[in-house]
């Protein structure tokens, strides 16, 4: 078998996957987004009306903005929560590291709907938190359930394991002895973190942010169950186009806008990481000066 044949055999599975599951659907929604829908049927009638609708009705952009704010907040909360968790597991987990890491993902064993339902049992009007508050004579906190706060809580809970995983993997490759050097050369704990630990795990952290931000931006289920009457996000409106209203062309256009927003977020995060050498990443085969 020649090297060329072997090369194409290796490339084939990945290529097929990307074409069938990424490229073709993407092309389809881009194409559909320039058609129109009538009585639940797509009609090939090239026009820009769908985009005009999205950008002229403030409702669509408002929902997109809400989704962006939600995704940003959820990413930041996950970031702040995941760093200490991942750091602790890597630094002090010893031989239990893997078990500790997997335990952060344990809720995944139950399925998405069940996890959201479980949150309802905790945060809801007759959930554990509010029942306890009432029992001790306090007023229940209504914002806990059927609000953006509830959606945010649910999304953090849902996506936190991905952030922990990304930072965990990054820290596994981090040489903690560098912190000894930082200490001896005059850096207190905070300085050492800012100067050494954080930059050397910047790329891993960025991957974690992307892993949380992008699915959150598109999410619909969590806000549907926890968000209450005013909690709809872009994802919910998008889902509606393919469901009750049956306006698939408009939905496709909304999908294209979502895709572009996600791509823009990726670019921004990537730019923030900047020169990979500043994150201690050596690119093999890079020319030496």
């Amino acid at each position: 078998m020649s090297n060329t044949v072997r090369f194409w055999l290796m490339v084939l599975p990945g290529t097929v996957f990307l074409v069938v599951f990424l490229l073709l659907p993407l092309i389809a929604i881009v194409v559909f987004s320039f058609w129109r829908t009538e009585s639940y049927t797509l009609i090939q009638d090239w026009n820009l009306d769908n985009y005009a609708t999205i950008f002229s009705h403030s409702a669509y952009l408002t929902f997109l903005a809400r989704a962006l704010v939600m995704a940003t907040c959820v990413s930041l909360v996950c970031l702040a929560y995941a760093w200490p968790v991942a750091y602790f597991i890597v630094r002090y987990g010893g031989r239990y590291r893997l078990i500790l890491l997997l335990s952060t993902a344990a809720p995944f064993l139950t399925g998405e709907i069940l996890r959201v339902a479980a949150l309802q049992q905790i945060l809801g009007p007759i959930g554990v938190v509010n029942m306890a508050l009432t029992r001790f004579g306090f007023d229940p906190i209504e914002a806990l359930m059927y609000s953006n706060m509830a959606t945010g809580t649910g999304l953090v809970y849902l996506w936190l394991p991905f952030m922990v995983l990304a930072i965990y993997l990054s820290l596994l490759n981090f040489d903690f002895a560098l912190l000894d050097v930082a200490k001896i050369t005059g850096a207190g704990p905070l300085r050492a973190f800012v100067e050494v630990t954080l930059p050397l795990n910047r790329a891993g952290t960025a991957i974690g942010i992307v892993l949380v931000f992008i699915p959150t931006l598109a999410s619909a289920t969590t806000s549907q169950f926890l968000g209450g009457p005013d909690g709809a996000l872009y994802g919910n409106i998008l889902a509606r186009q393919f469901g009750s209203t049956g306006t698939w062309a408009l939905g496709s256009a909304m999908g294209v806008v979502l895709f572009l927003a996600s791509a823009l977020a990726l670019v921004i995060v990537w730019r923030a990481v900047g020169d990979l050498r500043r994150s201690g990443i050596v690119i093999k085969g890079a020319p030496k000066p």
Partner: protein, 355 residues
Amino acid sequence: MSDCMLRLQSVTKRFGTTMAAESVSLEVGQTELFALLGPSGSGKTTLLRIIAGLDAPDEGRVLIGGRDVTRLPPYRRGIGMVFQDFLLFPHKTVAENIAFPLKMQGKSRAETADDLKWVSQLVRLTGLEERYPHELSGGQKQRVALARGLVSRPSLLLLDEPLANLDRELRKRMEVEIRRFQLELGIPFIYVTHNQEEALTMASRMAVMREGCLEQIGDKLALYHRPATAFVAAFLGSPNTFEGDVVGVEDGRAEIAWHGHRFWSRAHDGLAPGLRAVCYVKSEKIAFASSGAALAGRLRDTIFKGQYADYLVCLDDGHEITVSAAPDLCHRPGEAVGITWAADDGDAFPAVGKE
């Protein structure tokens, strides 16, 4: 010691049931290059980490420049340290790595530039400032690590096996360089190594460490030529070992009977007639002799080492003795030879753990 810069007072450190340091007391003067020598696991790195403040001692005190720093974190001790695997910050350029201690001290841009220039010249790194650590050779990394340790003009520099990862040629050069830095800066260097050649080359004074204890501290020549304990005698140089019976002790000398031969040696505490003794004689202190030889045998092999050669002499009763001497002696394998050494070149200690 009047100019004592570092003082350890009964420093003890345990890891579980292992004694990493057992009541270690030590003084290092202002201008010394002091070597801590010991086999791996002897606790020398732990001792260095205690001096640095990276580990806290269970008991005892650490004083730097007369100030008790036992409870101070490393970043308040004003010392420099160079590590075995260099540990440069991979995300910082050479200049940023070296300037890191200055940045932590909040020095101004001008001062930083001055200090960088000074230290780059000292360790001969000029021209590499903008490179990243992965673009440097092993020797260059070593220089950057040294520069980073020295740039803030610490009161003390700790070196933890800094040359262990360099090849032989480079190591030889760096040994000389490090001595030069120490002389130019006039601050004490404390140098941890398991390589006796390094310690003997560089140090002015040294200590040999074993299982958390300091076996002997002193001038390096004293340790080499006048070992105080059996461990030091066996550890330094490449000695021949003779285990025999003490026949008599007088005037600080002991007569040892060994496989039908008798010879004199310096006697250490605890030797008495009738006891078993171990006698160490460094291989280069044994000489070939045609007459009046203490022992007779045949030359089995010659191992040429360049500046000297090891002659393996097989005695008539089958024991093998190594003699180090000039490489050009015209002895041929199989030839009958006699060997001898002066009484003061042997060190006899009571044998431990055997009858």
